[in-house]
Amino acid sequence: MLRGRQTWVFPNRPTIISTATVGGPFEAEGPLAEDFDLLHGDLWLGQDSYEKAEKKMLEVACEMAVQKAGLQKQDIQFFLSGDLMNQIISSSFTARTLAVPYLGLYGACSSSMESLTLGSLIVDSGSGNYVLCGTSSHNAAAEKQYRYPTEYGSQKPPTAQWTVTGAGVALLGSKGEGPKVTSATIGRVVDMGVTDPFNMGSAMAPAAVDTITAHFRDLRISPRDYDLIATGDLGRVGHRIAVDLLKKHGLEIPEDRFTDCGILIYNQDQPVVLAGGSGCGCSATVAYGHILNRMKKGELKKVLIVATGALLSPLSYQQKESIPCIAHAVSIEYDH
């Protein structure tokens, strides 16, 4: 049901009946290691390419989510997924293995909440009983495609971020126990003319702010209605900009209720991560792992996940195009 200009409210409250998160070696060293269902010590996962390793993570996450819900693959009506690889191969190849009707999505790192939003719409409208929403990213595969070879010695600036190696999957059902998806705000593409791909935080912050303000305007609520608002992968740089931008727009979010998945996932003393984590896997693993776990423990009742995405390609960057960005917000509630 449309509310305001760009927000959907889901009166039937689709339930996240199970989730699964898979991470890599750097995530295992981070503070949220406990919240992952499966951690791999090796970037290769026993595969012979990084791309295959990413696909493997997503496949395993999907299997685990279905298994946790006590269901079979045949019970799943639709699989919605997106990732960072060219032609979204990780998602499509996982869909090949799953053999479930599939819609491939691309919203860069916002794919996590894009798939959850569309999945909720399907379940809410009664067009499906069980919908699997997933996304994945792999550090080395993303570096290879977007930047330089992994072993190439280039010095990254302090604003650069570290792509998360991980896959996160949520299984939505029309009934059952678990956190409920209550509303979602679809973001606009915002481009503030930032061209530096080593500064994604400041490129994406305005998109996150645009979607957050739209969410509160459309639903006529205030940030105090949420226990936690978490952006996807702004990192330390983007988060600081987003806080100040929101203040400028007259929307002050209490500091203890506003965070970023890219900051949460790594320790500050992990030297290679610089400004924080990024990638589809960042918001997906932190939201479906850490944040939902906190909700299940009763620490949080209502959260807003704002997954941010930078819609650039290596070609558009080389052709000196600026970076268009997007953010999608999903509101999740859990009443015990």
Binding site: G153, G193, A205, L245
Partner: protein, 159 residues
Amino acid sequence: MSNKKKKKLTPVQQQYHSFSKAREPQRPVLLNVVRAFLAGGTICLLGQFIQDFFLWNFNFTEKTAGDPTVAVLILLSVILTASGVYDHIAQWSGAGTAVPVTGFANSIASAAIEHRSEGFVLGVGASMFQLAGSVIVFGVFAAFVVALIKTTLALLGGS
């Protein structure tokens, strides 16, 4: 960002640029320069030791000892790249490891390793020079231009 680029931006974008710039950590330029000096200097010092080693132990002149010296440095760089250490050293030292011949070797070796998964022909062979290619193209062209100038001057009666 240069002024020319800035002119293309709308006033709102320009405003955002100054807003975000004030909140971003800057590249530690001075520290990077010192580190580059130390790392680059160390590599050159190592090169000097290797060159002296060839001069003292083998039948090399100062001119001919250069080739085996470069070969040893390249080999070291490739070994460090293959064992996954070079990129960490480079993050610390910046231009210090990028400018010497070790950086060039690293750019080729890393690309070759990275694209091994696409096979020898379409992967390693085709992608090996994706970073080094422009160095080779413009290096050869620059050498050609310099040679042309030198030859012309010689023909005009220079020494």
